[in-house]
């Protein structure tokens, strides 16, 4: 894997929102990028499928107001946990 987690997540967001990846900033919220409601849930699904991870259920989940950086962090956390679990089972 050559792309960083952030690049991969931003690429998925750009594709979902049909926007240029260059305009996505770490501090942008999904709402800023025009991704609301069901599209946000769809984006979460796309990210889960891409990385083969499952996000935990959030307390009062509201992805619309999350920043893209918090999404990247959540992906990285899930990837780290997956890697740790993989090592543990060896």
């Amino acid at each position: 894997m050559t792309d960083t987690t952030q690049q991969q997540v931003f690429d998925i967001i750009a594709k979902q929102a049909k926007i240029d990846v260059a305009i996505i900033k770490p501090e942008s919220t999904l709402k800023d990028l025009g991704i609301a409601s069901l599209e946000a849930i769809e984006l979460i699904f796309d990210i889960e499928e891409h990385f083969n991870i499952t996000f935990p259920d959030q307390q009062g989940a509201n992805f619309d107001t999350d920043t893209t950086q918090s999404l990247v962090d959540a992906v990285q956390k899930a990837l780290d946990e997956k890697a740790a679990a993989g090592e543990g089972s060896k």
Binding site: A36, S37, L38, I41, D57, Q59, G60, A61, F63
Partner: protein, 410 residues
């Protein structure tokens, strides 16, 4: 100007199979005691599911009780619930459909969100999972969304207008409204109506997980710490009659179904709009000839999701103005869960109970009120108070709103 003089519609029987037990009385007793039937999910795949809790019909429900084997084999769990609830409602009404051609003048309208989901899931597993070359021959008659309505029609010889209504979480209310309209406009003298749902299958649970609207602990409508809805199941079935038909036979009338309101938000497929649902409430009031200040209680849609509870609160304020502050508003989904296409029917049992017994059921699991939800939600404990008239709200994914206005028995 209307030239049709509408007949008044009353409720003379009710039955329920719910997470709080078998029978409408078990449901009502549980609700007025503030008892929540939400518990750990009982499911063969519970280990690998993220869904942890649900409100399920207890195992004490025996679907085979007093139903012939040749009928049973035709029934998905959805229809089992509906048929048992219908039997209870019809027995309470005391109607004899074989007399005076009443069977021909009786309609059956039953709401369901998805119909025979358990059958669909079982057969899919057979075909795709086990590579079976054939499906069970009764798959279609079990799965079809009209199965419950048809089975009730067949069981009691009811030959009037009979069909299913599907509008997701508003299915029961939409069905009850169609049945009431048939009686109002003289197309039937009586109707068996309500809603039924049994869709806690592996496939459906996975689909709900992916939507990320399910609470992982319990359902806390209007609380700041609410985490989403909790799925339920069950059926509520009612006997409706024209007022004159009920009075002529000296029937015990439980409540009057005085008005109805139906609107669509026409905005978003999942995000609710306060304007759409408030318009449905206003319609139901006007249709019932009620002023806002005639109403004492609203059984809220109250799913416990972030979006619903704030929007519904706004909608109630829009429809009721200053009287909103004097209303008792509760969400019984905090106890019987969200039975989707059956929810409006389970909630109508609560509304009839409130009108009849002058007790408003509470909103359970009310820890700390969300400041954005600023009505009187009858926290945790039922309230004894006179209830002259009440609304029952159901709002569905798809932006569909169906509201019933009930009055005490005349």
């Amino acid at each position: 100007m209307s030239t049709v003089s509408m007949r008044r519609v009353v409720i003379t029987g009710m039955g329920a199979i719910s997470p709080l037990g078998v029978g409408a009385e078990a449901l009502w007793q549980g609700l007025r005691e503030g008892r929540s039937a939400i518990g750990p999910l009982r499911h063969p795949d519970a280990e690998r599911l993220r869904v942890k809790v649900a409100a399920q019909v207890p195992d004490s429900f025996d679907p085979t009780a007093n139903i012939e084997e040749r009928t049973l084999i035709m029934l998905d769990r959805t229809s089992e619930f509906a048929l048992h609830a219908a039997r209870e409602a019809i027995a309470q009404s005391g109607l004899d459909f074989s007399r005076n051609g009443l069977g021909v003048r009786t309609a059956v309208v039953v709401g369901t969100g998805v119909g025979g989901e358990n059958t669909q899931d079982e057969q899919s597993k057979r075909l795709y999972g086990e590579n079976s070359p054939r499906a069970h021959p009764l798959t279609i008659v079990r799965v079809m969304t009209n199965a419950s309505a048809s089975q009730i029609s067949i069981a009691y010889g009811l030959r009037g207008p009979t069909f299913a209504v599907a509008s997701a979480c508003a299915s029961a209310n939409h069905a009850i409204i169609q049945a009431a309209q048939l009686i109002r406009y003289g197309m039937a003298d009586a109707a068996i109506t309500g809603g039924t749902e049994a869709c806690l299958t592996y496939g459906a649970l996975r689909a709900w997980e992916a939507m990320r609207v399910l609470a992982d602990d319990t359902c806390r409508p209007f609380s700041i710490n609410r985490r989403g809805l909790v799925l339920g199941e069950g059926a509520g079935i009612f006997v409706l009659e024209s007022l004159e038909h009920a009075q002529a036979r000296g029937a015990t009338i439980l409540a009057e179904l005085a008005g109805v309101g139906m609107t669509a938000d026409a905005t978003d497929i999942v995000m609710p709009s306060a304007e759409g649902s408030s318009a449905a409430m206003s319609q139901a009031l006007a249709d019932a000839g009620l002023n806002a200040d005639d109403v004492d209680y609203i059984n809220a849609h109250g799913t416990g999701t972030q979006a619903n509870d704030v929007t519904e609160t706004k909608a109630i304020r829009l429809a009721f103005g200053t009287h909103a502050d004097r209303l008792a508003v509760s969400s019984t989904k905090s106890m019987h869960g969200h039975a989707l296409g059956a929810s409006g029917a389970l909630e109508l049992v609560a509304v009839v109970g409130a009108l009849r017994d002058s007790v408003v059921p509470p909103t359970a699991n009310m820890d700390k009120v969300d400041p954005a939800c600023d009505l009187d939600y009858v926290p945790n404990v039922a309230r004894e108070m006179p209830v002259r008239a009440a609304l029952s709200n159901s709002f569905a994914f798809g932006g569909l709103n169906a509201v019933l206005a009930l009055k005490r028995a005349p």
